[in-house]
């Protein structure tokens, strides 16, 4: 699959490393890092001269390479970012990545995070805006073993539920929404690996409906899951964020528009051609991760159900309706995360869609 693409990836990283050496020799102190970033970007931009070149930018992802970024992979390999005039570097995240400070620092132009984390960041002084929502319904779910199912929120009382650190805020919010005192559920802090559920150490697992159920199914472990969203936990997930200052600066704003246009086109394509999405993920981006094509494709199907709703059918992918934004703010207020309509803006999407529902 597109050898040009793989080459580009390796070439880019070499270019970055080479220019890094030069930059460090040539400059010092603060300048070194800026020079490094700048020359890296210049190198990246010069590779594929576009019709009207806006330069280069980075997109900070919040996890390591897998299918949840398939739209971005397609946008790169099919040249959607390039066509919009931008050369985009994808920065993979990991379990300990904080996306918000990386966007605030300018290391990435746009990031992917959640409305809870971004709102908390804005409240703590980060000058950020949420500019689109991939998942209209949060994928958060409670997963249990099919042989010992947890059938609904009230069923969690007296059970051990494994919750990862980054998800504690939202799990507590959900308990509050359900009127379940925190003391009645045994919250067990866990990492991302769902084996404690398979091993029976915990009864329930704070899961992503797009992920863990498929992994366990592939291991022959049958599970039952339900979305928190369906019990009133109305929250976006995979929201794009950018610095408010880049939205105000015309040249930066043009880059944000180009990047988001590539994202939309990439995701439109991903749902039309899941095989391409899965192969790009497994054979190119997550190549060193040893991913499984079938699982990744099944997961993509689960993502599609969360990305595409009535709202997106009318206004296009990532669109944030005022009613949904209000529901998000209510959900967030449950954990004491203050959020406001002004934290969310459709202005970039408006500029791209111009009233249509396709980009």
């Amino acid at each position: 699959m597109s050898p040009q693409y793989t080459d580009r990836r390796t070439f880019l990283s070499q270019a970055l490393r080479r220019s890094a050496g030069v930059a460090v020799l040539a400059t010092s102190g603060a300048g070194a890092w800026e020079g490094l970033l700048g020359s890296g970007r210049a190198a990246a931009a010069s590779l594929h001269p576009a019709a009207r070149s806006l330069g280069a930018a980075s997109l900070q992802l919040d996890w390591i390479d897998d299918i949840e970024f398939a739209g971005s992979y397609i946008a790169r390999s099919s040249g959607y970012y390039q066509r919009a005039g931008l050369s985009v570097t994808l920065l993979p995240g990991g379990p300990n990545t904080s996306v918000e400070p990386i966007v605030v620092s300018g290391k990435a132009l746009v990031g992917i995070s959640g409305p809870d984390l971004t709102s908390a960041a804005i409240n703590n002084g980060a000058d950020l805006k949420i500019i689109g929502a991939q998942m209209q319904k949060a994928p958060q779910a409670i997963m249990s073993l099919a042989k010992r199912p947890i059938n609904g929120p009230k069923d969690m009382i007296g059970k051990k539920i494994g919750v990862q650190a980054g998800n504690l805020l939202s799990f507590r919010a959900f308990l509050e929404l359900q009127g379940i005192p925190e003391a009645k559920v045994d919250i067990v802090p866990v990492q991302f690996d769902p084996s404690p559920l398979a091993a029976g150490t915990v009864d329930g697992w704070y899961a992503f409906i797009t992920n863990e159920p498929f992994l366990l199914a592939a291991k022959g472990v049958a599970t039952k899951s339900w979305l928190l969203y369906d019990y009133g936990y109305r929250l976006y997930s995979g929201t794009y964020l950018a610095s408010a200052s880049s939205l105000d600066n015309p040249s930066e704003r043009a880059k944000v528009v180009a990047l988001m246009k590539g994202e939309i086109q990439g995701w439109q394509k991903a749902f039309l051609d899941p095989t391409l999405a899965a192969h790009l993920t497994v054979d190119v981006y997550g190549k060193s991760d040893g991913l499984d094509v079938r699982t990744q494709q099944e997961e993509l199907g689960a993502y599609q159900k969360l990305f595409q709703t009535g709202t997106t059918a009318r206004h296009g992918l990532f669109w944030m309706s005022p009613a949904d934004v209000a529901a998000n703010i209510r959900t967030l207020s449950l954990v004491g995360i203050k959020s406001k309509p002004s934290y969310f803006t459709n202005e970039i999407l408006q500029e791209i869609y111009k009233g249509s529902n396709q980009a």
Binding site: G40, N124, D127, A199
Partner: protein
């Protein structure tokens, strides 16, 4: 003092014995380990997606071979760069320390702070400031800097005073003394430190990969854990251990080739720690020493604050995530809610201290027991020491998930992890200490027909006491950091978890306060061990 140095010595001695015997013993040790593993996997953890059998892991290693090599290349390159820069910096700083006592007094505590800083908490900050592989390289460099600094400084100081006097007597400059005498004498303990640095650099790089990356052992591990590829998790952990072990023994070989005299003489690197104030004769009274310590401490604190604020200013970091000394002071002492913030930090600290002390105690007791067995029975040594050295090089981040799976997410896991950090330096150091009695008294004991038990208690144990303290300097802050790591990855309590939550929730004032608190407490533990060490060394001092 370098536990590192003694590690080299212990291994040197093991090698001195019959090679065939050593090989047989190691093979027996490895076979025992494999059998225990097979039994655990097949009977205790069967069907729980926790522990694959050795055969399964072997199959996994073969099946994933291209994936392993691909990722190993990336991680090794990061670790090697970090190893190089960290060690280079350490050697340069050690030379500065040797040249100027003033520089040492001012900078040593900053160096200690670099060792006591919870690198898992500063990793996200490095990730913001740096690009690409750089955060991983810096973490690898930070992981090796202090131990090499200590080893190199001790080595430079261990120069034969007669030789130094000779140089001076013939009108040689300090430069001549350095190049002709000191550098040569520093080599054995430098090499020993470089040896320990190899697995440490790998550990730093893998922690960095937990921040995100396209490839690398850490990235593959996150994916394997999330995908419930248990066999692959183990294959990766063992592979990482093998790579670390290879780095360790390769450096050891280079050391024996480059400094044959060190092993031949069975020499031990000096046990003087830099700046501990214990190496010289005790001038002045307690009051004078206390006054000196306090003023040095104030100086170092001031230096730390300047470096910290300067770091933020020079890099032009955004105040939203880059909190300076003033912000932290406001957060814990003056601002609104400072009282609540303090009690949150104190509660977390209490948990971490409990976790670390339990781990330290468990690790020390086991290590002292194991060390006694090792010096008493040759068979134990040749069976156990190679296994221990291999286990020592398993990167802790790789081991934590395995320990958590096996022992659960409670106190037991955190004790085990903090204990492991304590166990290896203590074992290696105490073995060295138990062996340190001069040949004369040992011969006397043997001539009078004393049992090996009597020799152990009457001669070896007293001579090993200083080594217990010198290992405590590395092991006690190590136990703190191990506890923080375990809390972070596993138990969800204490300072480790508080910092994780603070980082993900954008509560950066809390995160920076946590980093400062952890660093200060670890450094205080380090200093406290030094204070106790001084009288003990004077009482039982070997030189």
């Amino acid at each position: 003092m370098a536990p590192a140095g003694l590690a080299g010595t212990a291994q040197g001695r093991a090698d001195g014995q019959g090679r065939a015997h050593g090989w047989l013993g190691s093979a027996a040790g490895a076979a025992g380990l494999l059998l225990a593993w097979e039994a655990l996997a097949a009977y205790v953890f069967a069907g729980r997606h926790i522990m694959p059998t050795p055969v399964g892991v072997l199959g996994g290693l073969w099946h994933d071979r291209s994936l392993l090599w691909q990722n190993a290349g990336v991680t090794l390159s990061e670790a090697a760069q970090g190893w190089l820069w960290g060690n280079l910096a350490a050697v340069v700083v050690a030379l500065v320390f040797t040249a100027s006592r003033v520089a040492e007094a001012a900078l040593l505590r900053l160096a200690i702070a670099s060792y006591c800083m919870p690198i898992i908490a500063i990793a996200p900050i490095l990730n913001i400031v740096l690009n690409g592989d750089q955060p991983k390289v810096v973490l690898a460099a930070l992981s090796v800097f202090f131990t090499t600094l200590v080893g190199m400084t001790a080595g430079l100081r261990s120069a034969d005073p007669t030789a130094l006097d000779m140089v001076h007597a013939y009108g040689g400059s300090a430069w001549a003394a350095l190049t002709k005498v000191r550098l040569r004498s520093s080599l054995p303990s430098l090499f020993a430190a470089l040896q320990v640095a190899a697995p440490a650099a790998l550990l730093g790089a893998i922690i960095g990969e937990y921040l995100g990356g396209n490839s690398g052992i850490g990235v593959a591990m996150i994916n394997a854990e999330q995908s419930l590829e248990v066999t692959r998790v183990w294959a990766l952990a063992l592979f990482a251990a093998a790579v670390a072990g290879a780095g360790y023994s390769l450096t050891g070989r280079v050391a024996r080739w480059a400094t044959p005299w060190a092993v031949a003489a069975g020499s031990q690197p000096g046990t003087a720690s830099p700046g501990s104030g214990t190496s010289g004769p005790g001038f002045g009274g307690l009051a004078w020493r206390a006054l000196r310590s306090v003023s040095l401490l104030a100086l170092s604190l001031a230096a730390a604050v300047v470096v910290w604020a300067g770091f933020i200013k020079v890099l032009g970091l955004n105040p939203y995530f880059a909190k300076g000394p003033v912000d932290v002071w406001d957060f814990v002492a003056q601002g609104p809610g400072a009282g609540a913030n303090r009690s949150q930090l104190w509660a977390a600290l209490a948990t971490t201290l409990r976790d670390a002390s339990l781990g330290y105690l468990a690790g020390t007791v086991l290590a002292v027991g194991a060390a006694m067995a090792v010096v008493s029975w040759r068979a134990v040594e040749s069976t156990f020491m190679p296994v221990a050295l291999v286990l020592r090089s398993v990167p802790l981040v790789a081991m934590t998930p395995l320990i958590t799976l096996a022992l659960g997410r409670g106190l037991l896991s955190v004790t085990a992890i903090a204990g492991i950090v304590t166990f290896f330096p203590t074992l290696v150091n105490v073995v060295g200490g138990l062996r340190s009695p001069a040949a004369g008294p040992l011969l006397v004991m043997r001539a009078y027909g004393a049992s090996s038990w009597a020799t152990l208690w009457k001669l070896r144990v007293p001579s090993a006491l200083p080594s217990l303290f010198s290992s405590a300097r590395i092991a006690a802050p190590g136990a703190m950091l191990g506890a923080v790591l375990a809390e972070w990855l596993s138990t969800g309590q204490g300072l480790g978890y508080l910092m994780l939550e603070a980082g993900t929730g954008s509560e950066f004032a809390l995160l920076w306060s946590g980093v400062v608190l952890t660093t200060v407490v670890s450094a205080a533990v380090y200093a406290a061990v030094g204070l106790v060490e001084a009288p003990v060394l004077r009482r039982f001092g070997t030189t």
